[in-house]
């Protein structure tokens, strides 16, 4: 009884603290605010949601059964099906779901001010993203670890299955293109960044060789060697930057760097995994975990002040980083960190095969996503502790604010965010860069933010080191996603092509490997090229497309989950997934509608294409712009088609799910539930819980 009262009082205190923190950051106007409030608000919201909402879903809706044997136990094979300690599974799951997305999205969305993004990250995660990850993990666990695509086919029928497959392939292509663009913008005309990122390739190969041939399977030794080499590469880049001849080797504008990324991507896809992909993945995982922990400690220790206002005037759609109003674009810009469809691919297929007990599902599915959401909150803090003028100077593309530094600062200052040329030169000098203007994409401003937080915590003299460390850290796991994504895309394509000619479906037949890798790389390479040549910085086009495709994948996962809930007779609880699904359908449809019909050339694809065509016809374009104009017009139309295709796929699967639910409720035949039969676990006695 006493313990119960104490627990109740503790939770009331957490709720009050959380409410005060959220209220504080939401109602604050005009005054600077301590970043610790963001951390407090986030932790309280996650704690309450995890303790009450997730627990309720687990016990009342999903009816999690700790006595039921999981696929890892029933199908144990010592390889992929393997009952594993839940903290280990949590580590694997988190490392797999947390990529560069939650770092980039919030940074871009900070143009609306800190508030909209922060609220969406918190609410979207606890009501949407965490629920999606948790229920997908649960349903896949009950189905022997089947993938999202297989579950869609089994539970909804062939339409759902095909839509899931096509959506996954397309989102992969757009994702890789936009991430490639982020890396290119970070390396543009920066010998230090470019040489450091380039050095990660031979370093990964050395580690790969070490773990395969010199000391087989010694993962920790190899990783330690790699991390030391990476840190040396960051320092070495600083040395190289001061060598007049050598630095020119790595000093390139965007387009050649984009080609380098494309060639690299192709090489990575056809080389054996041990050489590049596997060792790079180890390194990026340690870098990621280490940097996230370091950032959290530095924020708590330094308690930096958030200088961005709660809301900026750009909620009207005139923002320099990307065009579009607060609704729906804040919800599209921040996908990962609030709700990310991509996670459903990890939560089905990979993670369920490791679960030792169903009761770990809440911690791994819900808790894993809550932690990722926390990373997004930290990215939001790192972006908003910068002076807003500096933030906009780094992130506004030259096409919006002007190529010359004086023009750019005048324009940004006129928006009410004062910044000077001297301030920017000093900052660039401190960070060891020639310039920080127009580095759209999120990575450089995040790196400046992280460098200033780390710098004030661990010594100002190291700012340039910290900046390039942060760039290297982002680049290394962007490139991991790029390698892994290209490879997955290749497998999926080979799978599809195998239906046409079985030989093409053999993943080890080299001509098929070359062909399918070539197609996948060409597809994302083309979108990367579109982004790099775009005068408005490319992020304006590609990031919303990525957000839309990621949210549509989430909608597919939620459709599968809602369909299963209704078919299992849990109609009255179906809102837990139907509500986020309705919201996603609304925001993605609204975003696609805006992207198609808006008259604003920075929002509407057709508006941009028509505007450029009119200018071209009138001969008002300078010759170098006139030369690329036809390509730009074609690209805008292609993007529009893609957006239409995404929307059609979304509605197709939503209507298909509703049809299945309606048929079930009318007692008409539907595809039966594909749940594996109940079997009692034998693990519990032997299994050491910790």
């Amino acid at each position: 009884m006493n313990n119960k009262t104490l627990a109740a009082l503790t939770w009331i205190a957490v709720a009050l603290l959380g409410a005060a923190a959220v209220g504080g950051i939401a109602l604050n106007r005009g005054e600077s605010i301590n970043a610790l409030w963001f951390i407090t608000a986030a932790l309280c919201v996650y704690a309450i949601a995890y303790r009450f909402y997730a627990a309720w879903i687990a016990s009342k809706v999903l009816l999690i059964d700790p006595t039921r044997a999981t696929p890892a136990e029933r199908l144990e094979n010592g390889r992929d099906y393997l009952p594993t300690n839940r903290w280990i599974v949590f580590g694997h799951h988190f490392a797999a779901i947390a990529g560069p997305g939650p770092l980039v999205g919030p940074t871009l969305a900070a143009q609306f001010g800190y508030l909209p993004g922060t609220l969406w990250i918190l609410v979207g995660a606890v009501l949407g993203g965490c629920v999606q990850d948790m229920v997908t993990l649960f349903f896949s666990t009950r189905r022997n670890g089947r993938s999202l695509g297989q579950m869609a086919r089994d539970e909804l029928g062939p339409i759902g299955g095909i839509a899931a497959l096509v959506a996954t392939l397309l989102i992969m292509i757009i994702l890789i293109a936009v991430l490639g663009l982020v890396v290119v913008n970070a390396m543009k005309n920066s010998p230090w960044a470019t040489s450091t990122v380039a050095a990660t390739i031979p370093i990964a190969m050395i580690v790969g060789l070490y773990m395969r041939n010199i000391r087989p399977g010694r993962v920790l030794e190899g990783s330690l060697l790699g991390i030391v080499l990476l840190l040396l590469a960051v320092a070495g880049g600083g040395w190289l930057d001061h060598q007049p001849v050598l630095r020119e080797w790595f000093n390139h504008p965007g387009l050649p760097l984009a080609w380098a990324v494309i060639v690299y991507g192709f090489a990575a896809a056809i080389l054996p995994v041990w050489m590049l992909l596997a060792p790079r993945d180890y390194l990026s995982t340690y870098m990621k975990l280490g940097t996230v922990i370091l950032l959290a400690l530095a924020i708590v220790w330094m308690q930096p002040t958030v200088k961005m206002p709660a809301l900026t005037q750009f909620i009207d759609g005139s923002g320099p980083i990307f065009g579009g109003k607060l609704f729906p674009f804040v919800f599209i810009t921040i996908a990962c960190g609030a709700i990310s469809g991509f996670h459903a691919l990890i939560a089905s297929g990979t993670t369920p095969k490791l679960l030792a007990n169903e009761r770990d599902i809440r911690m791994i599915g819900y808790g894993g996503m809550a932690l990722e959401s926390f990373v997004a909150i930290m990215a939001m803090i790192a972006a908003t502790v910068l002076d807003p003028g500096v933030f906009f100077a780094i992130n506004s593309p030259a096409g919006v604010v002007g190529k010359e530094a004086a023009d750019a600062v005048a324009k940004i200052t006129s928006w009410g965010f004062p910044v000077t040329v001297e301030q920017m030169s000093l900052l660039a000098q401190q960070m060891g860069e020639a310039t920080l203007f127009a580095r759209t994409g999120g990575a450089p401003s995040l790196a400046v933010g992280m460098a200033s937080i780390f710098g004030s915590a661990f010594g100002e003299g190291m700012l340039a080191m910290w900046y390039h460390f942060a760039i290297m850290f982002e680049a290394i796991f962007i490139l991991t996603t790029l390698d892994a994504g290209t490879r997955v895309g290749r497998f999926m394509l080979q799978d599809m092509l195998g239906n046409i000619w079985p030989r093409l479906g053999q993943t080890s037949w080299y001509p098929s490997v070359l062909l399918s890798s070539g197609i996948v790389v060409a597809a994302w390479g083309y979108f990367l090229y579109i982004g790099v040549i775009d005068p408005n910085g490319g992020v304006n086009i590609l990031w919303p497309l990525f957000g839309i495709s990621n949210q549509i994948l989430a909608a597919i996962a939620l459709c599968v989950a809602t369909g299963i809930l209704v078919k299992s007779g849990k109609l009255k609880y179906a809102w837990i997934t139907a509500l986020p699904l309705a919201w996603l359908t609304l925001i993605t449809s609204a975003a696609v509608w805006e992207k198609l019909t808006s008259d604003d050339v920075r929002i509407g694809f057709f508006a941009a294409a028509n505007d450029l065509a009119a200018k071209l016809a009138a001969g008002s374009l300078p010759p170098e712009k006139a030369a690329v104009a036809p390509t730009l017009i074609f690209n805008q139309q292609l993007d529009a088609l893609l957006a239409i295709f995404f929307a059609c796929m979304l509605w197709l699967i939503v209507l298909d799910m509703l049809r299945i639910c309606a048929r079930h409720l009318a007692n008409k035949p539907v595809p039966p539930l594909s749940e594996a039969p109940h079997q009692v676990t034998k693990l519990e006695e032997a299994w050491q819980r910790d």
Binding site: D80, R212, P216, A278, C336, G349
Partner: protein, 63 residues
Amino acid sequence: MATGLKTWLRGCWRFVRELSGDDGYERYLAHHAACHIDSVALTRREYFRRREGEKWEGVRRCC
């Protein structure tokens, strides 16, 4: 106190090894001894090659 700390540190080390897959071969040998006693176990090198190949067959990394 000292032994408590020692146990804790040892636990941490085991956790890091398992999380990274550093102890994968030892786990494989244990599994092999328990379930496939009639066949010859892979060598450390063979085991690691096989595992790396399998690990990258599916979706492993997100955005």
